[in-house]
């Protein structure tokens, strides 16, 4: 019997080639979309799950409860690690990690390396990174594990073990080769050196420099562990610690974030940030299922629409003695064959589009994952679910036909199933319109962020990272003086380069980290408040094109300006002054008192996710700068870079690293840009699938109404009247879909936009555009079919009966 089902199913599908093709293509696209998103989700969820004790390994999160600062960071004090080892026996392993970057030398060879970790011996027990060669020991000071890339760079083909590298003035002996970190870990490194090489004050609770990780004994209760830790810390630090926080909390608390949750930001306060987003994982999983649902709906629609064609067959079978179950099995077989074909198409589509998808999602997944055993198991489940989902409704409807009616040629298809088909079409287009609207809104927001006036001119600014590569060489005040002298010469030389308009230096520039601390007005009753601040050169304001709103900029002609501060308008207001009135006041911390000489207009020194903060710009005489900013005149960039490179070579033998300010700022919105791209792709797929379905339904409707069209034409209806007649009902469905989708899209996107301090408002125009796009595409699809139907000769159409 099964064989008979399959044979008939195949023949039937072959005979209705066009319909089968639409169905397979629609299902294939939907499934491919599901497969790719599935791979992406699986990759996102796999972060850091490969460590041997991943399920009981944690990173410490450090939360401040002070009146001025309530925030969480992942940097912890030096004393935390040793405290765990001494006082919390359920700690199985722990390590502190200091992350550095900077110049690495080996003989003649040198380069700037990022993510150089200094970690304690337990590092190799906690993390599952493979040792390729040598030993995994990080006990001794002055030892380092390097990745194959680093070995290649500094040692070429010669042996690296036992050789030394220099970083920050320290000699590090290579004791092992450590595999490069896989793509699915939050922890990036090029080299891992022993913590003992830098050392730390194990009793220090005041400064937060290190990340701390721990693996707990099996069965340890995390909440109890956290409570014990809080007690231990309190007993060590006493009253000043335990009562310094708000609402009776201690000044600081330490909590555990599961290592597997780090990438997606799970298990920790939101403000510590994360590279991935759990919300996006959920969102895109949901969207992928929706797209698959759309494809299944197509299947159901096309199958039930064709039902009257099959009705006669059902009648005959039942007259011949078939049970309802027989007929249902027949149609389910067809559904499964189509699903399997759709799956084959989906695998092909997935494989072909994986590289593009990798680009889109910023991943590097390989084709292997498509044929991994888990993937195959997932496919089997999907085939079963989709085959049943897509096939059960048609099977149910068709098998329910009463033989006596179908045999007399009275079609039962018009009895209510069109209503369901209409509901399903509305559902499909509602999702499509929602996705289109989402895409447009995300794009608008990204455009807005990238083009919003930032309060300074970010274009044409070349940023050379410099000082950090030299800091290892600066030990004494004399060194620092000499460095400043050389830097000053370098900047002067740059100013001579034609095409360079201004040159400035500073500890931070927009997009990099600004320091944060408590400052008060220099008055007897002033309360300290939290401010961002940095240290800048005389020409910083001019180079970045910040706008002065009161007072004056730093001037190299006025010697006392090195002990002055320029604040932004928000800072002036936070101190309780208008920009004009704050000039001449002074800010103070400890025994320093620094005069306010000018106020600049607010500028976005952080991404537009954050509200503009209150910022103080002190003179770089206090602190060595880390960046040199060069404003280049239009069209001179390539030549200027070459010149800057030459000048750099005479300034230092360290390789130059540079970037463009505008690029760096745009990179703040990578995640949004990516989301816009993914959204856009899903929207295209959804509308494609919906249109495939609509195309099939319209073709069917046109065919069903051949006689009606013939009569209308014979009675003198014009082409356009017939087109309108045939298209109208479908267009109405799309309009209805818009009515459903627009408010939903509006609410969802408003929520998404709420995460930005600076955001667009969703206007009716965007929603209308989304609706219009869907309508236009739907109209094209339907009209194409209606056109064909309207073309037919009425005589032929009428003879058909």
């Amino acid at each position: 019997m099964l064989r008979s089902y399959l044979i008939v199913a195949f023949r039937s599908l072959r005979r209705r080639m066009g319909y089968s093709f639409l169905n397979v293509l629609g299902l294939g696209t939907g499934l491919a979309c599901c497969i790719l998103i599935g791979l992406w989700v699986q990759d996102e969820l796999s972060y850091d799950d490969f460590h041997p004790k991943a399920e009981r390994t944690y990173r410490f999160v450090n939360t401040f409860h002070m009146p001025q600062v309530q925030a969480s960071i992942v940097q912890t004090p030096a004393a935390l690690g040793p405290t765990l080892e001494e006082s919390l026996p359920t700690t199985e392993h722990s390590t502190r990690i200091a992350t550095r970057d900077g110049l690495v030398r080996q003989g003649e060879r040198q380069d700037v390396e990022q993510n150089i970790l200094y970690a304690e011996a337990d590092f190799t027990k906690i993390f599952g990174f493979d040792i390729i060669e040598g030993t995994a020991s990080l006990d001794e000071p002055g030892t380092v594990l390097i990745t194959p890339d680093v070995r290649e760079k500094y040692f070429g083909r010669s042996a690296a073990l036992g050789q030394t590298l220099e970083h920050d003035g320290r000699e590090l002996t290579v004791t092992g080769i450590l595999a490069s970190p896989p793509s699915n870990t939050h922890l990036d490194y090029t080299m891992v050196a022993s913590f003992a090489s830098i050392g730390a004050d194990d009793t220090q609770w005041g400064y937060n420099y290190f990340t701390t990780y721990a693996t707990l004994q099996p069965g340890t209760d995390v909440e109890r562990f956290e409570a014990q830790l809080a007690e231990t810390v309190a007993s060590r630090l006493g009253e000043s610690f335990t009562s310094a926080g708000v609402d009776g909390k201690p000044r600081q608390s330490f909590t555990l974030q599961p290592i597997t949750g780090i990438h997606l930001g799970l298990g920790a306060p939101e403000d510590i940030g994360s590279t991935g987003s759990y919300a996006y994982v959920v969102l895109f999983s949901g969207l992928a299922l929706f797209v698959l649902l759309l494809a299944c709906i197509n299947f159901m629609n096309l199958s039930t629409a064709r039902s009257s064609e099959r009705a006669n067959e059902v009648g005959v079978r039942r007259a011949m003695g078939a049970w309802r179950g027989h007929v249902a099995s027949q149609f389910l077989s067809e559904s499964f064959i189509l699903t399997v074909l759709g799956f084959a198409a989906a695998i092909g589509i997935s494989a072909a589009s994986l590289p593009a998808f990798n680009d889109l999602a910023g991943k590097s997944m390989s084709l292997d994952v498509l044929v991994a055993p888990e993937a195959l198991a997932a496919y089997a489940v999907l085939i079963l679910v989709v085959g049943l989902l897509a096939g059960s409704y048609p099977a149910f409807v068709l098998s329910g036909f009463r033989p006596v009616e179908t045999l007399r040629g009275r079609s039962t298809s018009s009895k209510g199933s069109p209503r369901l088909r209409q509901v399903l079409v509305v559902f499909q287009f509602a999702i499509s319109i929602g996705l289109i609207a989402g895409t447009l809104i995300v794009r608008d927001q990204v455009d807005y962020m990238q083009s919003k006036g930032l309060g300074f001119d970010e274009t044409g600014v070349l940023v050379v990272e410099q000082a950090r590569t030299l800091q290892g060489a600066i030990g004494t005040p004399d060194d620092a003086r000499a460095f400043r002298q050389r830097l000053s010469t370098f900047k002067d030389e740059l100013r001579q380069v034609s095409g360079v308009r201004d040159v400035a230096s500073g500890l931070s520039i927009p997009g990099t980290i600004f320091v944060n601390s408590m400052w008060a007005l220099d008055r007897a009753d002033a309360e300290p408040q939290n401010f961002d601040y940095t240290f800048v050169s005389d020409d910083y304001v001019e180079t970045l094109d910040l706008k002065m709103v009161a007072g004056r900029d730093f001037s190299s002609d006025i010697a006392t300006d090195t002990a002055a501060v320029v604040v932004n308008e928000s800072a002036a207001r936070k101190f309780g002054f208008s920009p004009e009135d704050i000039i001449g006041e002074a800010v103070q911390r400890g025994d320093m008192s620094i005069e306010v000489i000018g106020v600049v207009d607010d500028f976005h020194y952080e991404s537009l996710h954050q509200e503009i903060g209150a910022v103080l710009l002190f003179h770089e005489a206090f602190r060595l700068p880390e960046y040199v900013a060069v404003r280049v005149e239009d069209g001179q960039t390539a030549r200027v870079i070459e010149q800057v490179r030459n000048e750099w070579a005479t300034f230092t033998d360290v390789p130059m690293t540079y970037s463009f300010l505008a690029d760096e700022l745009a990179a703040e919105y990578t995640s949004e840009t990516r989301m816009a791209d993914l959204f856009g792709t899903l929207a295209v797929l959804a509308i494609l699938i919906a249109c495939l379905g609509l195309f099939g339904l319209a073709a069917y409707a046109a065919q069903q109404r051949t006689k009606e069209i013939g009569i209308r034409k014979a009675l003198g209806a014009s082409m356009s009247q017939i087109l309108l007649q045939l298209s109208r009902s479908f267009i109405a469905l799309v309009v209805l879909a818009f009515v459903v989708a627009a408010p939903a899209a509006y609410l969802a996107m408003e929520r998404w936009l709420d995460q930005f301090a600076y955001r667009i408002t969703v206007g009716p125009a965007t929603l209308a555009l989304a609706g219009a796009l869907a309508l236009a595409i739907a109209a094209l699809t339907v009209t194409a079919q209606a056109w064909r139907a309207a073309q037919t000769n009425p005589a032929t159409a009428l003879r058909g009966e």
């Binding site: 044979i7 008939v8 039937s12 079978r317 011949m320 003695g321 049970w323 045999l407 040629g409």
Partner: protein, 233 residues
């Protein structure tokens, strides 16, 4: 074999009530060949559908093979139908996706007949209608007469007690029509009960008895078909 009394079938649309059968009493003995005639809309096909257990009467009793089936559920009727009643339709109603052989095989599949026996019986049925040479063809590749012969083979393959034919020659030319009628007559001779709806007095001649329906009622029963012709002309 078939006995009905006061058989009524009423179709109710929203406001209109159509009486298709209005108290039909019939008695058909095993081995008979009965024609049902009457103008369009007199209820012929409705009657045939009820006799074939494809439809249920609104009122009245219907005894088939010694069992009152008028109150049967859809499922019970399907079970009773299987293997006991064969159908021949005006529009052949072969399944396009199945070959001649597979179309004929279909009733046996639903009866779970073992495959060797199936093959034997299908071959025999095809042989009977002289369609063995076309058994691998699809219905679209056959002429109307050939299709109807296949349909007859399909109707008899399960060896039913009763064959119901609904204007079996309605879509055929006279040569093919005669062939099909001869086949039905042969079957009747071999003992199968046949009930046939027809418009054609010539076809009715093949049967032993003709029942005339008018407005849902039996108006006369003529044992000699010619009388009908004389009566209507």
């Amino acid at each position: 074999m078939i006995k009905t009394e006061g058989l009524k079938k009423i179709y109710r649309a929203e406001e209109v009530e159509t009486i298709a059968l209005n108290g039909v009493g019939l008695h058909i003995e095993s081995g008979e060949f009965v024609s049902i005639m009457g103008p369009s809309g007199c209820g012929k096909s409705t009657l045939l559908n009820i006799l074939g257990l494809l439809d249920t009467p609104t009122e009245g009793s219907h005894v088939f093979d010694g069992e009152d089936v008028s109150g049967f559920s859809e499922r019970q009727r399907a079970k009773r139908r299987k293997g006991n009643i064969g159908f021949v339709f005006q529009s052949f109603n072969l399944i396009d996706e199945l070959t001649v052989y597979e179309n004929v095989e279909l009733p046996l599949l639903y009866l779970n007949t073992p495959s060797a026996e199936r093959q034997e019986r299908v071959e025999a049925a095809l042989d009977r209608v002289q369609m063995t040479h076309r058994k691998g063809h699809f219905p679209q590749q056959l002429s109307g007469g050939q299709q109807q012969r296949v349909a007859v083979a399909r109707a008899v393959v399960a060896d039913p007690k009763l064959i119901l034919a609904d204007e079996p020659t309605g879509n055929l030319d006279s040569t093919n029509g005669t062939q099909v009628m001869n086949l039905l007559a042969d079957l009747n001779e071999a003992g199968t009960t046949i009930v046939m709806v027809t418009h054609s007095p010539a076809d009715a001649e093949y049967s032993g008895r003709t029942i005339h329906l008018f407005d849902g009622k039996v108006v006369s029963e003529n044992f000699i078909a010619q009388e009908y012709a004389a009566h209507t002309q």
